[in-house]
Symmetry: C2
Subunit: 230 residues, 2 copies
């Protein structure tokens, strides 16, 4: 048995799970859950692959990260899969979050009840707009951002959700980091920079639109070319 311990000079210690893998996992989990509801107990990576639309080997390799083991011929036990994935994705321990910017998107996230089962709990929301401060959304009152420091010191919150305009994203992020936040979920189009001990995930709505439009027009173009070329 060969085991390479990458103990080269401090460049990269943990290889980490590939991001594409992480992005696929919720889809596997979702599928496993619906199979479970249907009473199906076992599933092969081949079938997961077909239903989710990726390569079977990919599924196998992805699942290997969760340390679930499949039985040859039978496949994976659906319950094991659900457990392993939930565990791996960190849906079991609760991460408490502050949300900054209670505009449309912010309010939507506050109203979103699906987070509870996915390891995230928004425990306070902030804004600076007087028209918004004081509003109650889904049982959560929107506080003035002034109060942030106070609360951040008392409660040990790990995640900051930024649903605010691009202009203020970086400066608010800096404050969050100074006050001890470990992860930032950034919904603004401004890509923010953070020190290496902090994690950011950028979920820009416009990035997705960009991909959608571009692919649509590429396809259209391709279709036109085909018509001409034949």
């Amino acid at each position: 048995m060969i085991m390479v311990e990458n103990s080269q000079s401090s460049k990269k210690i943990t290889p980490g799970v590939p991001e594409p893998t992480l992005r696929r996992m919720p889809a596997y989990l979702n599928m496993a859950k619906s199979l479970h509801r249907e009473g199906i107990t076992h599933i092969s990576s081949t079938r997961i692959a077909r239903d989710v639309g990726v390569d079977p080997t990919q599924v196998t390799k992805d699942l290997a990260f969760t340390q679930v083991v499949g039985k040859t011929k039978v496949g994976y036990a659906v319950i094991d899969l659900i457990e392993s994935l939930q565990d791996f994705l960190g849906y079991k321990k609760m991460n408490e979050a502050f949300l900054i910017g209670a505009g449309n998107l912010g309010k939507a996230l506050m109203s979103y009840n699906g987070f509870d089962d996915h390891g995230l709990k928004i425990i306070a929301a902030f804004d600076i707009n007087p028209a918004i401060v004081g509003m109650e959304v889904n049982g959560l009152k929107v506080l003035h951002f002034d109060k942030f420091r106070d609360l951040a010191e008392r409660m040990h919150v790990s995640v900051g959700i930024l649903t605010l305009p691009a202009e203020s994203a970086q400066s608010v992020a800096d404050l969050l980091i100074a006050w001890g936040i470990k992860g930032i979920w950034n919904f603004s189009p401004q890509i923010i920079k953070v020190p290496s001990h902090v994690t950011v995930v950028n979920t820009s709505i416009y990035a997705n639109l960009a991909v959608l439009f571009n692919k649509m027009s590429t396809l259209e173009q391709q279709y036109k070319n085909n018509l001409i070329n034949r």
Copy 2:
């Protein structure tokens, strides 16, 4: 001047723009816009790179897709950049969209006024929940999904936005496609499958959470290891 026309047998006609590139472009645009507001007229890829947090060469290569040309020593003209990017990203022509599923997220997207400048206009919203049908959100009435077919036939809508539960995502997508939609923006955790002439972009909120949590705990782990190893 060399110009390679990839006219090899019909395997891939258009190479297409790399998806990561597309995802970065809105950030460049955002930056260019804020420079423009500050009255800055020229910017180098080196500086864009530093501010956005990617490699300078990457920026150059990304921008090359938009056909914008930079001047040596000076950089790119900010106005050109804005124009080229907006054009490239398809923010100039309007794509009309139907939104299906007017729950929290659906309503949030309906209230989101930023789409107008980004080439997307939601012209109708549908649901089947009687408690939601008939509501008015941001000047748009939520219709019963029954009405969809009728409207889809009359109006030539290109984009469908799915903000509905995983269970119904695939079946609704199939209907949309049958009725002529060209692109689907899927917010449900169910990865949906479509014929090759239709584009899908999956924007699962949980996929992002998964990445955030995993990276956070990897970092934490790494930090602990370092403490021990030294």
